[in-house]
């Protein structure tokens, strides 16, 4: 599974939506995620990829694509180390 597929699966599970409706352009509002859903998705992704996503960074995400790009960057850095 790619990073994007894994993040999509986690977000879909936590927000209880069909993963197929989540595109890179989807906002958290589009998939009706509340603030607790968002925090829990961040925590689950952090644990899956063993990375850290501070709130200061997460607040900059405009949509699912931004979230995925950030995780790809962090997970990529980790592999290089």
């Amino acid at each position: 599974m790619t990073v994007e597929e894994q993040v999509r699966e986690i977000v879909a599970r936590i927000t209880r939506v069909d993963p197929n409706i989540i595109t890179r352009e989807s906002t958290f509002k589009d998939i009706k995620a509340d603030s607790l859903d968002i925090v829990q998705a961040l925590v689950a992704v952090e644990e899956r990829f063993e990375i850290e996503i501070p709130d200061e960074e997460a607040q900059k995400f405009q949509n699912f694509g931004d979230f995925v790009s950030y995780v790809e960057g962090k997970a990529g850095q980790k592999e290089m180390v």
Binding site: D34, S35, L36, V39, Q40, V43, E52, P54, D55, E56
Partner: protein
């Protein structure tokens, strides 16, 4: 300058910001080395650690979600292996979901209760072992929402009521080990969390209805917590000290009466 806590080690959960930061700095100013626990805000925690170190004591950062039992164990494993003891545990980290009762679900309930109430139990179980043979202090941060109703505050209020009840039970069971367990309950404190939950209305109202004439500040909480961590407070056990500038005992003092003449 008095350094009553010199040589002591304190863990402050949620110690990077707001009330936790004020407490961490207060205890550091009294000579304690501080373990600053944080979860979502590393930058703030790093800044707090720097400020602690400028006071001439050690600061150690540890990231952990105190709602996760495994992370609590990892945090205390680190403290145990690095320091081998603990003198003060400040149970400050809190979270919550502000919603009307009809919109609450089990996910919101569990998230809030796990962080605000269960963490006190799980952390104190580990802290007490690190305090064994030397005594210790445990102080939790509660809120007036444990006993008074605030809008959309149900789960947090209930979690704080559980926290205060647990404080009483811990105080009695841990008394033979010379561990003093107490809590403080504040009214609205001027913090980022408050602005997040209530926007401006509550802040404005609180200025007007607080008999003491201003809102409670994080430093007001830190001062009382520091007292509860001192030997002078040794005989205070299982209590929740209210810090609200008189709001809860004089809730109507801001109301202008139409006829103040004697009957």
């Amino acid at each position: 300058m008095t350094v009553p806590l010199e040589g002591k080690l304190a863990l402050v959960t949620g110690g990077g910001r707001d009330i936790g930061k004020a407490i961490a700095l207060k205890l550091a100013s009294q000579g304690a080395d501080i373990v600053v626990n944080f979860f979502r805000h590393r930058d703030a925690a790093q800044q707090t650690a720097k400020e602690i170190e400028t006071l001439g004591v050690k600061a150690e950062l540890v990231r952990a979600n105190v709602g996760d039992p495994a992370k609590i164990q990892e945090m205390f494993d680190m403290i145990g292996s690095k320091f081998g003891h603990l003198d003060i545990f400040i149970n400050n980290a809190a979270s919550g979901v502000g919603r009307p009762i009809m919109d609450l679900d089990t996910k919101a309930w569990e998230w809030t209760m796990d962080i605000n109430a269960r963490a006190l139990l799980l952390c104190t179980q580990r802290a007490a072992k690190l305090m064994d043979g030397r005594g210790g202090k445990v102080v939790s941060i509660s809120s007036l929402g444990s006993r008074f109703v605030l809008p959309n505050y149900t789960i947090v209020g209930v979690s704080k009521a559980a926290l205060e009840a647990l404080t009483r039970y811990l105080a009695i069971e841990l008394a033979p080990q010379d561990i003093c367990v107490n809590a403080v309950a504040a009214s609205a404190v001027e913090t980022d969390a408050l602005k997040f939950y209530f926007k401006e209305g509550l802040v404005k109202d609180s200025h007007q209805i607080t008999p003491a004439g201003r809102m409670v500040l994080p430093e007001d909480i830190a001062n009382v917590v520091a007292f509860l961590c001192s030997e002078e407070a040794f005989m205070i056990r299982g209590q929740t000290i209210v810090i609200d500038g008189g709001t809860s005992v004089g809730p109507f003092t801001h109301v202008e009466m139409e006829n103040n003449e004697e009957v």
